[in-house]
Symmetry: C2
Subunit: 511 residues, 2 copies
């Protein structure tokens, strides 16, 4: 009876259940060895700086990952383009498989400021949830100090621990677990490990183009980013695009005494305040005319998927000491709309250095987040039109050396467009079914239509015209990009199991 | 006939005409000696820093000025209060005079950054209008290079050359010119030379109180500031008050990823932009409710006086490369109203350092200019009321540690109130008549109801309850407070003559 209920609930044959348990058991009993390899990978400095050290560091990581693949009997290949950083490729073809999946992760990391870290960023350190150092040689089921905490809550601190060497380690270790469990992949597996993601993926497009035959597939799965703040897994269907803008509003051509000229000369900081306030209202809504015109409405399926997300707003508000949030909508849903964020404002001086003067110019830095069907071009057009409507003459347009009524300089970053895979895409549906089958406690799987942040998923989409999905494994509070980056061990174990389940099950669930 | 016309025009007895000509002639023929003494005074460093060097420097200046007075047979006296910088006092009592005038100037100067000066700030240097160095030993009527320029247009560069050692030198030299011309003062003359004006006049009130008997008078004339931009003299009846405000708007308690949280978390820079834009409209008008309620309307006489000012707006606009000015009113008139000036804004980062993040706080620095009958207290009350109405909880008011809907920190500078002497004040009328008699080409004398800038004239007014007037001599483009401060020689000569004419004529024109 019990068995029957399980079958009905999980809709999986007994063999799959057993295989999943074996995979999990392998991971549980091999934590020490998995961590040992991870630590070696994390010890390698991995900041993709465009200098001799940066290039040598990334090469060292690539070589190490090639060796990791070769240990599993996979031929590792370093992919290079002129001026770029090396990527690593490997493939495991499955006899009889009709679908091919590229699993993506990146092994480079954000720059580090060691003075802000509690442990050295390239000396991986295991701490329990109270911050006490723990030995790295974990044994299965052995809690170093059972009174203190669940070892699933221990965290490994190092640059790249979560973003995104956890992806690399997790994917490769999944192969070990499958092998030990006697599980065969159901799809052709390709690995693509990037080496310059945190440096802006400047050569990614060129690499994808050069190796387009090698990288041909039916689906890209980007193994990067954090899971939901509730601790549940989430499958992400897209990411917002991004573009940056630096703007400078001009005032008088020399600083003026604010007493003598304060009611007479325009103050560029005030002009800038009006311009920014005119672009976005107090509730965060963008008020640039037509800005939302090409925003794609969420589908019913997307709305329904968002409705089942656990509510983390109150928890986040309290954690961040925020008295209010914007527009009365949940954080997951807010990413369905474009965003205009002020990154910074600089004008004159404040505090001790403040002078009773009207400054000559005032600058703001903005980042825009784009959603389908916006493009960097359409955003730029609307923003510039709005600025002109406010009476500004944009530097470089026509007779910019003539004093206009208001003068402004705009410097646009190139930016890139958003992506969003349809909930109806067979590849995406196969992923949902596979994950729900392997992790029944995650059912219904959280399906996020779009990440609030930006990853250049459009490069894969444009080059290969196949669905691009994002499947994170890291804890949400992993200090991504900051000091004290970490991965929670429970998330790492679950991540390995997750990747193994996809490799094993995806082909079976794919219509 | 010609003589009769002159009499009618100038309404002055022949003797006064002659005396004025003799004063002018003395100045013309003693330029070399006057400059020599001025250069010695300007060589003395005069930044009133609160340290051993600053105090020694100011003492050295005070001692030098005492000696300058003693050379003219006036006993110089150093006035001191606990913790303050020395001021210098001297008096010249006139038998039979019924009125007493205190002439004020200050001998300390703004801090210097020598790297920004074209000549060393404490090595006085004479340059012609093309910037070519000129010898300091000017002889009467001898133009060093007649082809180049009018030596009246030469400028002496040094810290304090115009602000305000020109006042000290001009007042003392006026005595020499009068003596040489055989002209007797018509009022009791008192000199008060301050040594910490640019450091904020922190002890001025205490000095005035301590020496109130010594400083008793019927009129204070502050010899400081620039003449009108048209090159005409101007008599100034008051100054705006001033007060400063530093404000910080709070956001999340740690920087947030702008992609994940950009439509959800408030951005303190945007909140600040809305707050500032809500305080002052695009035309510079202050929109804080009730802000103009206690602004005194200009009198008909003041309006009429303003109407005769030469229009310098176009010249200034072109010089400053301003495409527009605020509120469609002339610069002289704009100072009749209060001002709200943004001194600076700081939030996040711009340019290369800009991060795609929501910052934790955003700060602005503001200076307010006050006009009668505003007070620092009334301004503060209205600003804080407005801020509360925008939904902010001001730090320190009630349960500030509780997260409110919007949080702000305000730090007020003490500030001080405005002053404005009535056009009808007999002392002021005497000044107008005296100056117009001595300088017929200045008739009608420009009478400015209030300086746009601020000087703590209220201290004299509160202590002595007598009119306080401001009579500048420096060229308007003297680079006051900045690098390359200078005085135009023509302005210096005219200034000496102006002071002499007042000392000689004021008693005769005073009803």
């Amino acid at each position: 009876m019990k068995y029957l209920v399980l079958v009905l609930l999980f809709a999986l044959p007994l063999s799959a259940q057993t295989e999943q348990a074996k995979v999990r058991d392998y991971i549980r009993t091999h934590q020490r060895g998995i961590l040992a390899e991870f630590v070696e990978l994390l010890k390698l400095e991995n900041v993709a700086l465009n200098n001799a050290k940066g290039r040598a560091d990334i090469q060292r990581n690539a070589d190490f990952i090639v060796k990791m693949l070769e240990k599993r009997g996979i031929k590792g290949q370093v992919l290079n383009v002129e001026g770029g950083f090396p990527a690593v490729y490997g493939e495991l073809l499955t006899p009889g498989a009709t679908k091919t999946v590229v699993f993506y992760a990146h092994f480079d990391g954000q720059p580090v400021d060691p003075s802000k870290w509690k442990t050295p960023p390239f000396e991986p350190t295991l701490l329990d949830s109270a911050g006490k150092p723990m030995p790295l040689n974990l044994n299965p089921g052995i809690v170093p100090d059972p009174a203190r905490a669940n070892p699933e809550d221990f965290r490994l601190y190092a640059r790249g621990a979560s973003d995104d060497k956890a992806g690399v380690l997790g994917l490769i270790t999944a192969l070990d677990a499958m092998k030990a469990a006697g599980v065969k992949p159901s799809v052709n597996i390709k690995f693509f490990f990037e080496g310059e993601e945190e440096a802006g993926s400047e050569h990614l497009g060129a690499i994808l183009a050069k190796y387009s035959d090698l990288l041909k597939s039916d689906l890209w799965i980007l193994c990067d980013g954090p899971i939901h703040q509730s601790g549940k897994l989430q499958l992400v269907y897209g990411a917002r695009g991004v573009m940056g803008l630096e703007m400078t509003v001009y005032g008088p051509n020399r600083a003026l005494h604010s007493g003598h000229y304060g009611n007479w000369s325009p103050n560029p900081a005030l002009d800038l305040a009006h311009l920014l306030a005119g672009m976005r209202d107090k509730d965060g809504r963008i008020t640039i005319p037509g800005f939302y015109d090409d925003v794609r409405k969420p589908t019913t399926a997307e709305e329904q998927a968002l409705a089942v997300f656990p509510d983390v707003d109150s928890k986040l508000k309290s954690e961040l000491k925020l008295g209010r949030t914007l527009g009365n909508q949940r954080v997951e849903r807010s990413a369905l709309e474009p965003a205009l964020n002020i990154r910074g404002i600089r004008a004159g001086s404040v505090g001790e250095a403040a002078a009773n003067a009207i400054m000559t110019e005032a600058s703001a830095s903005i980042d825009f987040r784009l959603v389908p069907d916006q493009s960097p071009q359409s955003v730029r057009r609307k923003v510039e039109q709005f600025i002109r409507q406010q009476g500004y003459k944009i530097e470089g347009e026509g007779a910019s050396d003539q004093p206009g009524s208001r003068r402004i300089r705009l410097q646009w970053e190139t930016g890139y467009p958003p992506t969003r895979t349809s909930f109806a895409a067979p590849a995406a549906q196969a992923m949902v079914r596979t994950i729900e089958a392997a992790f029944p406690q995650q059912k219904p799987l959280l399906r996020l239509p779009t990440l609030g942040g930006s990853v250049p998923a459009y490069l894969f989409e444009q080059q290969f015209k196949v669905p691009v999905m994002i499947l994170p494994i890291a804890n949400y509070d992993n200090n991504q990009h900051a000091a004290n980056e970490n991965i929670r061990l429970g998330n790492l174990w679950q991540g390995i199991e997750l990747y193994a389940s996809l490799m094993a099950g995806l082909g079976q669930h794919w219509d």
